[in-house]
Symmetry: C2
Subunit: 445 residues, 2 copies
């Protein structure tokens, strides 16, 4: 609820949450959809969802001008029967869309004009009419969470909902998701969805105030095309491949990383080629990496046992070694270290991490080494103090991304607490997370 003085003005102009309004303050006009006040927010600030997808709060002042706007497309909206069923096209395959929240969902919201828009097939197809030519759409929104707020238990929910849809017999799955932690979720699903028979595409929208919502439409259309028409039975992220609207990239879920805060082509393959380019206009799918799992007749099995007491620690000059002791005392069961360079940490002087890491390994807790360089692979020198630690030492995770190693260690620890078994599982390639050969032309592409 807004404050009494704000509510009085809203009542006067018959403005309700979900209406499109214009506010003029200090000669600057703001136009957008009226939103409910957010929980932590100021009672006196009106929240608007702008057309670029951002929410802004505008502090109420008496001299402000507020107008309710009726736009043609808003009137059109009112003609839509939200419960009306789309005509089922027998010539097309059926896919499932699973909604989890994020910018991509909010953009669909504001374009239909409804703040609480349902994630129904109708709503989606109204936004992205070309979907009607690609597939019949089943849709369900299983949560509405911004991706920065996603937690490991959400991964389990998404995995189970996805598996249920797959086993209902659809041709493929599109999961809409916020972009911030899309690559953590894609890694989690890669490990949790065993015997995957069909493609699973995780798709999001980058915030791009210049181009409005255009990446939502293209990303979702390409993702749908990919899960219907490709043979790739893997979990992939599907996002813009370039800043233009030419094609999306399908990148293996364990090798994808958000490498830019705002560009639409932020998701890049690390140490690997993308699996496919999915062209938007002509819907051509070009396989760029033939090393993928094919469609098959298996039933997907959800293997979602995880241990969440895992810490991801980036090392840097001056890091206090006691941070390891802190987590150990809190009964953490696993550590992923983002070392420097080839997988180093300070092993010299007052702030040496050596004895803290030694203590962890002596407690039969695993330490996995990755690199903060992001590209390349860690390399255990035969004589490095970390390698020789306790005879068991640190598990060097090859070219695995730190984020993927973190998710994988949680998943591995859900299956065993035995150090040797952990090491064996961490170094087993379950979902393309480890590449043993060096693939040319995969640095900074």
């Amino acid at each position: 609820m807004y404050s009494k003085q704000v509510q009085k003005v809203l009542d006067k102009f018959k403005i309700e949450v979900g209406d499109r309004i214009q506010i003029i303050k200090d000669k600057t006009p703001f136009e957008g959809i009226m939103m409910p006040r957010i929980e932590m927010g100021d009672l006196d600030s009106i929240v608007l969802k702008l057309d670029n997808g951002y929410n802004i709060g505008i502090k109420f002042e008496k001299r402000m001008k507020i107008n309710k706007i009726k736009k043609e497309w808003l009137i059109i909206k009112k003609k839509i029967e939200p419960s009306k069923k789309l005509i089922f096209d027998k010539k097309l395959s059926t896919i499932s869309m699973v909604g989890t929240g994020g910018t991509i969902a909010s953009k669909i919201d504001y374009r239909t004009g409804g703040v609480y828009a349902s994630f129904s097939p109708d709503d989606i197809v109204i936004q992205i009419p070309e979907l009607k030519k690609i597939a019949n759409i089943k849709a369900s929104e299983i949560m509405k969470i911004n991706s920065e707020d996603m937690q490991p238990n959400n991964w389990l929910e998404i995995a189970n909902a996805t598996a249920k849809e797959i086993n209902s017999g659809v041709k493929g799955i599109v999961i809409t998701h916020g972009t911030d932690t899309l690559h953590y979720t894609s890694a989690a699903l890669s490990f949790m969805l065993k015997n995957l028979p069909v493609p699973v595409a995780l798709v999001g929208a980058q915030r791009s105030s210049d181009r409005g919502s255009s990446d939502t439409v293209m990303n979702v259309a390409c993702a749908a095309n990919f899960v219907v028409n490709s043979n790739v039975a893997e979990v992939c992220t599907v996002m813009h491949g370039t800043m233009g609207d030419d094609y999306c990239l399908a990148i293996r879920g364990t090798k994808s990383r958000k490498m830019h805060t705002s560009r639409r082509d932020a998701f890049r393959p690390i140490n690997e080629l993308p699996i496919a380019k999915i062209f938007w206009k002509d819907r051509h799918i070009e396989i760029t990496n033939d090393d993928y799992r094919r469609r098959n007749d298996k039933k997907v099995v959800v293997d979602d046992k995880i241990e969440t007491k895992v810490a991801l620690i980036k090392v840097y000059p001056g890091l206090d070694p006691e941070i390891f002791d802190y987590y150990l005392k809190k009964n953490y069961r696993g550590f992923v270290v983002e070392g420097t360079g080839l997988g180093h940490v300070n092993t010299f002087g007052e702030k040496s991490l050596l004895s803290s890491i030694e203590k962890i390994i002596e407690s039969e807790i695993s330490v996995v080494m990755t690199s903060q360089c992001i590209y390349g692979r860690v390399h255990p020198f035969v004589y490095h103090p970390l390698r020789v630690l306790s005879g068991k030492g640190v598990i060097y995770a090859g070219d695995m991304l730190p984020e993927t190693a973190y998710v994988k260690l949680m998943w591995v620890l859900g299956h065993t607490k035995n150090l040797d078994e952990i090491k064996e599982m961490m170094l087993t390639n379950y979902a393309g997370e480890i590449t043993n050969r060096i693939i040319p032309n995969t640095f900074l592409v």
Copy 2:
């Protein structure tokens, strides 16, 4: 000291530390320089420094064959008088080389054959004869530390040694340094060396078993050329620009990052163009970014007051909010957060970081937001819970690298503990660390 049984064999073959030897074990030959046993190491493992710069430990076995090798270049080495002074060439400028350790130093070591080689002008020029055509060299080794072991107090030592050399009137400074944390040190020197009148080039060598030490020679030659013949009075990293041996890049010290564990062209400019390309063969210097500080007549001043109680925390799904409380209880004075996407953290549910961050800001401790995407810039949404926190909120560090923001916050806290002043200093551009406009063609290059 090695074990008695190993020492017996070494004595028999008259092998001493520093000798070149060959060990044949299980039919595999290993050749390199005999090293002293390392502190943590096995008494029975002989340590060899291979020609690619790696140290390996070979477990002693009775059936092993060990040969002492006399190579021609080792005999040549013996003819060099280490104390002999190079002839001073009046036509050339004089530069200082400051040695700090790392692969680059160890490579110079093994090539001269001496494990304890001095970092003398002679040693350097023997390795890189073309230096004689570029400049007269003054050289001093101020420490011998692998860069993963570098600590903030080492930055102060390097800054002071560098300033002393500059004020002795040389044309420029080349600092040799391990690559792992080269970019942390380059950021630190960028803030600490005020009124810089001449170029300062930080140069390292990547481990590259395929090409041996070739990147040492080219990197040092390009760095020397850059500090003699360019007009750029900034702290830069100078490393290979491509995998070939065509040119090095001079990258501003606050915008450089090691982006690959092993490639020679691992150091890349983030959100910015490199300042110059330095071609090796013809020694041409091509300025690629004209926005730099010029040579001048000022005296450099060392501004090395820092507060080391700063934590760099990467957030991820599942991060325990109590980590912030832990550092706060340990009287940390500053926090740099590597948020997701545009600078987000979990602000929802059981593991919300909101109240922990609120507590920090209420304690008048600063929180600086950066992004783990690495490329791009953070963006504070007007209505984001973090932004509105306590009216003061979180300092959004624009397009600053997390590593640079970490070093800068230490330096800023050395000057003030007042929250408003910290914010003002963090958002002031002292050394090119913040770029306010978006520069095209700086993503993944």
